[in-house]
């Protein structure tokens, strides 16, 4: 379980995130929706431990990410908006390194790599150097590193970005497959993707949570779209936010 309480983030006088609170549970897919610059990526960086909150608490499996960061991050898998790849390495070498630094015991590393490759459709490119692969493959390698250690919480910042329609379908199938054993938090601009994948929708505008509702409270996709547009209208841009 992940919990964010009253999380704020300022850059100088600029408020990027304001009093963000939510809880993510195992077996749940949570979708962050919002326009560019709403603060989604900043929030994902904070909950993944790569960026400190100005105030507020983020706890993962009851470990505070500020005071007990190493323990807290051991429950996390994170795919940033730009996949964190060493492009001069082969896919297998990179994934082996990811397994090691995420603390996968040596005897399970081969299995972990094979499972991640199989889930992300990377079996045929294991020996290829990453910089020679397409953006779609690179995105999948980024996803494979996020799930290789089978973390409780998986944070994916726009995982469908750069994927072709077939790969997007595969990505959605993968997220659905991950759902029972993990808590998946992902951001997207695609309302239909959020509608079909998520159990809960969190809309973020101007650094604030405008709405946090279970998906079954929306009548249909059009209802989600209407709610998104009306929520965007309610919150006037008090500050300029960057994501």
């Amino acid at each position: 379980m992940m919990q964010a309480q009253e999380v704020c983030r300022y850059y100088g006088k600029q408020t990027v995130l304001k009093n963000i609170s939510f809880t993510a549970y195992k077996g749940e897919v949570m979708g962050f929706l919002g326009p560019n610059g709403a603060g989604k990526s900043t929030l994902m960086q904070i909950i993944s431990g790569t960026l400190a909150a100005s105030s507020g608490i983020v706890s993962i499996a009851e470990h505070n990410i500020q005071t007990d960061p190493v323990q807290a991050r051991s429950y996390l898998g994170y795919l940033p908006d730009r996949p964190p790849l060493y492009t001069d390495c082969e896919v297998d070498t990179y994934l082996e390194y990811c397994a090691k630094i995420h603390g996968v015991p040596a005897i399970y590393q081969t299995d972990a790599i094979e499972t991640a490759k199989q889930k992300c459709g990377l079996q045929e490119v294991g020996g290829r150097v990453i910089h020679g692969l397409s953006k779609g493959y690179q995105q999948r390698i980024g996803l494979a590193q996020a799930i290789i250690h089978s973390p409780e919480i998986i944070i994916l910042d726009e995982p469908s970005s750069g994927l072709d329609p077939n790969q997007m379908i595969e990505m959605r199938e993968l997220i659905t497959e991950l759902k029972p054993d993990h808590s998946v938090i992902f951001s997207t601009h695609l309302l239909s993707e959020a509608y079909h994948l998520c159990d809960r929708i969190v809309m973020i505008f101007n650094g604030e949570i405008a709405l946090d509702r279970p998906i079954n409270t929306f009548a249909n996709e059009a209802d989600l779209e209407d709610t998104y547009v009306s929520s965007a209208g309610k919150l006037q841009p008090a500050t300029v936010a960057t994501s």
Binding site: T42, G49, T50, Q71, R82, P84, D88, C89, Y97
Partner: protein, 248 residues
């Protein structure tokens, strides 16, 4: 974890063609220097006032090795953190269950391992003399220790500046400037031997390094290099820790 990061990073250092080019140039220039020193020793022995081959040729060779390291280390370390920050790959380490010290030391040992490997290769040349003549092994060992402690310190400086800048050229320029300031600190001292002059002398990296190439295994000089190393490593770990406070 430190060892895992070091092993991965050292494999990346070895697979970079740029690093091999630096190594090739380094070896070529050192071979030229060695050839010049040896030819002069053989053709004009009077110039060396009866000094043995270790003192006259090998010590000079290791002095040159140290000077080349001053140029080479910033070129090697500049990309080790700066490039990862620029490409976003550093977020992999920041989101993994690792602390700042583990990340820094992993990269530190990778760079140091590569450079010590290089030093061991260039050390084959002086040891080849053992086939034909007697060598002062104590003096040679002091030269090697001097180069190792110099490397230990230079890598810490290079990595710190690599963590400061995302532009690699800025990392290399500033590392080189700081190394040169430390190397030539004695030149700021006057000839009167006041307490300020003594401070400049004791800060001079070249003064401390020269002791080793003269065959003196000085504990003061070892402590100097270790203190400088500790200072820059602590700053580097602090910088990595503070990366979590800024958006990049």
């Amino acid at each position: 974890m430190i060892l895992d990061i070091a092993k991965f990073e050292i494999s990346r250092v070895f697979r970079s063609p740029g690093n091999w080019l630096i190594v090739a140039i380094f070896q070529f220039l050192l071979a030229l220097i060695f050839y010049n020193l040896l030819s002069k020793y053989l053709s004009e022995p009077a110039l060396f006032e009866g000094r043995g081959i270790t003192d006259a040729v090998i010590a000079g060779y290791y002095r040159s090795t140290g000077l080349f390291f001053l140029l080479m280390v910033p070129l090697l370390t500049m990309r080790m953190i700066a490039e990862d920050i620029k490409t976003g790959a550093f977020k992999l380490l920041l989101s993994a269950p690792l602390n700042s010290f583990q990340i820094l030391m992993g990269k530190y040992f990778a760079a140091l391992g590569f450079l010590v490997f290089l030093l061991s290769i260039v050390s084959l040349v002086p040891f080849s003399f053992a086939i034909g003549t007697g060598l002062d092994y104590g003096h040679i060992m002091a030269c090697i220790v001097g180069n190792i402690v110099l490397l230990i310190c230079l890598v810490a400086i290079g990595l710190f500046f690599s963590s400061i800048f995302t532009q690699q050229y800025l990392a290399v320029i500033t590392s080189f400037m700081i190394i040169m300031l430390l190397w030539t600190a004695h030149s700021a001292a006057g000839s009167e031997s006041t307490s300020i002059d003594r401070i400049f002398y004791s800060l001079s990296m070249s003064n401390h390094f020269t002791r080793f190439t003269e065959g003196i295994l000085s504990s003061t000089s070892i402590i100097y290099f270790l203190l400088a190393t500790f200072f820059f490593l602590a700053m580097g770990a602090w910088k990595i820790h503070s990366m979590r406070s800024i958006d990049w």
